[in-house]
């Protein structure tokens, strides 16, 4: 049986790991390759590295980092941030990334999703969507949650699936950083509507939130950052808990 995935997310700025709290107040928490390898040893199923570097110049550091991650990590990883065209994605593939995630660029240029999935395969293309619930409607935002797009979450997610996205990474801006649990209602609706995997993001604060997101939220994978970075929940502890709740997870089985 396919296991539910636990995915720590590492935000990278200028080659270092940081985590933004509700997209603000950024502080550093560790060296990206080392932190990723530690998560892999603890049982992370996959990692996401998001480059939040603002300057084009410093972004070059990221491609070098991606190669070092690929050399050292024995689990799959996704990289995102600042991918604006097919050649950006191709460079990251060459550096050793297993998947890339696109967000704002896909909104500005939806055919980018089609071109990337045709060129590199659907499995390589994750579309990240930030959305906020406003008056009962989930509106998609771009540029790190700063610019409303007028797009509806469910309509947009379906469109990128039809364009060949391999997975959806949905972050609820209402829940992100609040630590009161994931947006399970919206996630369940997404999962029912789509036939590609849905990664839940935003809101993890306790182990029960992961149980909820995999049951009522119907998510295939759950992403979290600060609770792992600050050691509030250990990954192996979390997986042992989930296994005890009859949720299929990969437990470390070192021989």
């Amino acid at each position: 049986m396919l296991a539910k995935r636990i995915i720590p997310c590492l935000d990278i700025r200028d080659g270092k790991t940081v985590k933004g709290i509700e997209f603000l107040n950024i502080r550093e928490v560790g060296e990206p390759v080392e932190l990723g390898a530690r998560y892999a040893r603890e049982g992370a199923d996959e990692l996401v590295y998001l480059d939040i570097t603002s300057s084009h110049e410093k972004r070059k550091l990221f491609a070098g980092l991606v190669r070092r991650i690929a050399e050292n990590l024995n689990i799959p990883f996704t990289v995102g941030g600042g991918i604006n065209d097919v050649s950006d994605a191709g460079r990251l593939l060459d550096a050793g990334a297993d998947k890339i995630s696109v967000n704002s660029a896909a909104i500005m240029q939806p055919e980018l999703v089609s071109r990337m999935s045709a060129g590199f395969g659907s499995q390589f293309v994750v579309v990240a969507i930030d959305a906020r619930e406003e008056n009962g409607r989930w509106q998609v935002y771009r540029n790190g949650g700063r610019i409303p797009t007028g797009l509806d979450l469910f309509v947009w997610a379906y469109e990128v699936q039809e364009r060949g996205a391999g997975e959806i990474l949905f972050t609820s801006m209402n829940h992100d950083g609040v630590k009161h649990g994931y947006a399970c209602d919206a996630l369940a609706r997404l999962s029912d509507r789509l036939n590609i995997p849905v990664i839940a993001s935003g809101g993890a604060g306790a182990m029960e939130h992961f149980r909820e997101v995999f049951t009522t939220g119907k998510a295939d994978a759950a992403l979290a950052a600060s609770i792992f970075h600050y050691g509030e929940i250990g990954i192996s502890q979390l997986k042992t808990y989930l296994a005890g709740e009859n949720i299929p997870v990969r437990l470390n089985n070192d021989k």
């Binding site: 049986m1 396919l2 296991a3 995935r5 892999a40 199923d45 690929a70 050399e71 050292n72 024995n74 689990i75 799959p76 593939l93 060459d94 050793g96 297993d98 590199f120 395969g121 659907s122 499995q123 390589f124 391999g166 997975e167 789509l194 036939n195 590609i196 995997p197 295939d220 994978a221 990969r250 470390n252 089985n253 070192d254 021989k255």
Partner: protein
């Protein structure tokens, strides 16, 4: 150890290269039939699409060379599928080393395609994938699967049981990605190198 990774337009060559280097093996990446034929071990990785890749293998002569190899050979993911008799992906005849068909997962009853993530090996019974791998989780990413059959050495279940691994003489194949499957995957690659 002279390990050659067959070079073609597959996406995961670099990952396989890095995984072997982590084990202290420095593989040669080559499309040269002479280099491939003289290797001690051959790895045939694969991420991509079956029909286009088969056409490429026929043009380059690799389609004739591969089934004739006598050394230990490991096909990964699409590599495994291309070792079969026929793929529904583009309806293309393949290398016919493992006489099974490659079919598409049907996205029905809530089953999401591709099958992406970690799944358990069951009924492990091969020389490479032996009983020590029973219950191990491995990382899979695929929309097509190899049916179970006489050469199946491990199954996994996703809607239906399918061949997670197969062996025939010196030919070994895994649908999952050992290069991305954590310590279990590393152990498998190490075992293949040591066969």
């Amino acid at each position: 150890m002279n390990v050659v990774i067959i070079q073609y337009n597959a996406g995961n060559i670099r990952s396989v290269d890095f995984a072997l280097r982590r084990l202290g093996v420095k593989p040669v990446i080559s499309a040269d039939p002479g280099v491939i034929a003289s290797a001690e071990k051959v790895i045939f990785p694969g991420v991509g699409e079956a029909a286009g890749t088969m056409a490429h293998l026929r043009e380059t002569g690799l389609a004739r060379l591969i089934p004739s190899l006598k050394q230990d050979f490991l096909g990964i993911c699409l590599g495994m599928q291309l070792m079969c008799s026929f793929s529904e992906e583009g309806n293309v005849p393949c290398l016919n080393i493992i006489p099974q068909k490659v079919k598409r997962f049907e996205a029905a009853g809530g089953l999401k395609v591709p099958h992406m993530g970690w799944n358990r090996l069951e009924r492990t019974q091969g020389r490479l994938i032996d009983s020590s791998f029973e219950g191990e989780y491995m990382y899979f990413v695929h929309s097509y699967y190899v049916e179970t059959g006489d050469f199946t050495t491990a199954i996994a279940v996703y809607g239906t049981p399918f061949s997670a691994a197969a062996e025939r003489d010196n030919f070994f194949a895994t649908q999952f990605h050992p290069e991305k499957s954590g310590t279990a995957g590393s152990r498998l690659l190490k075992k293949f190198i040591a066969l």
